[in-house]
């Protein structure tokens, strides 16, 4: 008997028909002799509807109350899924974040899971019940409801799988696995049977949008076997696990991230500690910095250029403007018309030809590279956003259609 955690996203539970489909997948797994914990997101547009209702009342609602509101979404979908499973005649119980013991820190709207106590989940599994847990939500030490932000339900699923020592954590989504490139852009992209945590991590971070990096990081840390699989097709998905065959493939995929902005802080004083001041200020506001480039200018001045998530661009502009005097820079320029395209693959670092091949593909397509960043298993370039599709196609062609 295996213990399997299955996570279903908002599109998978969007309506009656899809809920019955999910109930079918879950009960098939249970019937096959497994213990099953199901993690669900809010139905399709529920979250957007809530955000709209809130916006009509208040353009700046408190994050605490926003979390109270949003967390009702998973409570609705988990109860409905429980009813669908009851309809098929199986024993089932649904648990909210606080009932399931999903304990988080106090950061409303982007809380991090501290601990899954999971006693209730275990006792319900011992009673042979299918257990449904609300994704995306938890409870903090003040007994307040928190939500986990982007990728929250994936993270809930992996955290539960880690805490219960599950044999497998399946992430059901609307694609049937991880591809060598986005199949919507590259027609002949290939599905990968297996991928390592590190490769998946780079792909997730880089905007492949199949799994969120938080969940992959946690899966890696606690060695949880993941599988990305479609709730619609019933095809085998992609397994994400510790790599045993690290050098088999040079490049496992091409990813694109359009949620990018390039920030240039121009003519900072060229003193020790200036970069630290800039980045600690942004860290305090929970802004993730990606690629960083520093250049020395004239007269003891230097400029720092870096990329951030595009949806943080306005906030970063305000933060920097408010601290202009303290940081002592001359000007800031923010460009949101950029995108990041990356190739990911274990063993890439030991193959110096890989970078050259990528740049050759971009040059051949007439695409200008604005920034470059490399790691052990990836190479990223920042380019103009309008070139990003062309770039993905050209790179994929170069590496996969030889």
């Amino acid at each position: 008997m295996s213990l399997i955690v299955q996570k279903f996203g908002g599109t998978s539970v969007a309506n009656t028909e899809r809920l019955m489909n999910v109930a079918d997948i879950v009960t098939s797994t249970y019937k096959a002799g497994n213990q099953v914990v199901v993690v669900v997101s809010a139905q399709g547009d529920t979250t957007d509807d809530f955000i709209e209702k809130a916006a009509e009342l208040n353009d700046r609602p408190s994050k605490r109350e926003m979390d109270v509101l949003l967390s009702a979404g998973e409570q609705i979908s988990m109860a409905l899924l429980a009813m669908a499973i009851q309809k098929l005649g199986y024993p089932v119980i649904s648990l909210t974040g606080w009932q399931a013991g999903i304990e988080t820190d106090i950061n409303y709207s982007e809380a991090r899971i501290r601990k899954v106590t999971g006693e209730r989940i275990r006792s319900e599994l011992d009673r042979n019940r299918i257990v449904i847990v609300a994704g995306f939500q938890g409870i903090n030490k003040q007994d307040d409801i928190t939500t986990l932000g982007r990728g929250g339900s994936d993270t809930t699923a992996v955290a539960i799988a880690a805490s219960l020592g599950a044999d497998l954590c399946q992430i059901y989504t609307d694609v049937d696995g991880v591809y060598t490139a986005d199949p919507r852009i590259v027609k002949d992209a290939r599905k990968l049977d297996e991928i390592t945590y590190d490769e998946m991590l780079e792909l997730a971070t880089l905007g492949a949008q199949v799994l969120h990096n938080r969940s992959v990081e946690m899966a890696k840390k606690y060695n949880v076997d993941l599988e990305v699989v479609s709730s619609f097709s019933r095809n085998p998905g992609t397994k994400v696990k510790e790599g045993s065959d690290m050098e088999k493939m040079n490049v496992s995929g091409v990813a694109r991230d359009n949620n990018c902005a390039r920030v240039a802080i121009i003519n900072l004083p060229d003193e020790p500690g200036v970069a630290f001041k800039v980045f600690s200020l942004l860290a305090k506001h929970k802004v993730n910095i990606d690629i960083i480039l520093q250049s020395v200018g004239q007269k003891n001045k230097k400029s720092i250029t870096f990329t951030i998530q595009q949806d943080k661009a306005e906030e970063v502009g305000k933060i920097l403007a408010a601290n202009k005097e303290q940081l002592g820079f001359e000007d800031v320029s923010i460009n949101t018309g950029v995108a990041k395209v990356s190739i990911v693959g274990a063993g890439m670092a030991s193959n110096p030809g890989v970078a050259a091949k990528m740049f050759e593909a971009l040059a051949g397509a007439g695409i200008n590279i604005r920034m470059i960043s490399t790691s052990e298993i990836k190479i990223s370039v920042l380019i103009n956003e309008e070139d990003s599709e062309k770039a993905v196609k050209a790179i994929h062609e170069k590496f996969f259609n030889v």
Copy 2:
């Protein structure tokens, strides 16, 4: 400084405009120097929408999961109201049933409140916050969410007022008080400034639909001053309190209840304990019995006729059919086309002329009386449902337009 509990029903919080109106009422009370606890129901049609969604998946969902689903409704409305109050610039916090310490028994879908621990509410009031509590919901000893059934939010409000020792519990609704008859039926019905708990209790039980009897019973038990007031008109409402002036008025109002069914169990054995068997069986299934009539038939047989809530009629039919042999009766007939019309008033028992006057009014309108029931402060008659409006008008005319 007074502590005031204000309860707002589903129509009062149905949309953005109405939520802002409620926020205005609440903050005016707070601004006047009072501590305020607000109890809210789910928005307008939310509950019906949930029930419909559930019905699409399962015609017999478990009550536990139904409660999980329905309780999301108040969680949504309380968060939205908190945002509306924040918009007006006042400190506020919303609490679910479990956060507010509303502890209930384990009867899903019709749980009874055992205790309001209320520590969290008190500590938030001490921090000068307006506290919003989700009505209609609680938590049982298994840490599961329960809902309180009909009149649940009123009951939540009164229970909180009792537990905190509030100075006043205001029930905001879409009518501006308690009338001598339903103003939608009787054009010249008069609003009462004051009414006693007992009178209100009879009116509530009898279908005046302003306050649910559970909440009035609790208010009477813990001596909570109630006020029924409109969230739309801002007129003074009707105060419900211990009567000091009990003999002032003979008849305080006329009420109608269409949610009635008449059940006749025909030819039961005429033995001691038969009525007990019937009614304990129904009590086990939580069926409330109202007017009871017993008649002796032929050959050691008797028949028992009683009224129940119309929405329990189907269930009662099934329960009786399943126990036909054990109870030993011959036949059951259930008639849902009946209504109960009642007059209520303190001091009525000492005025024998009141009943005669009521029956005269009904006779004058050509209405046939099928069953009669009297108490210290009310007289009820069961009549055909189609006569009920006519009956209310005739009785009101007789008593109030002399």
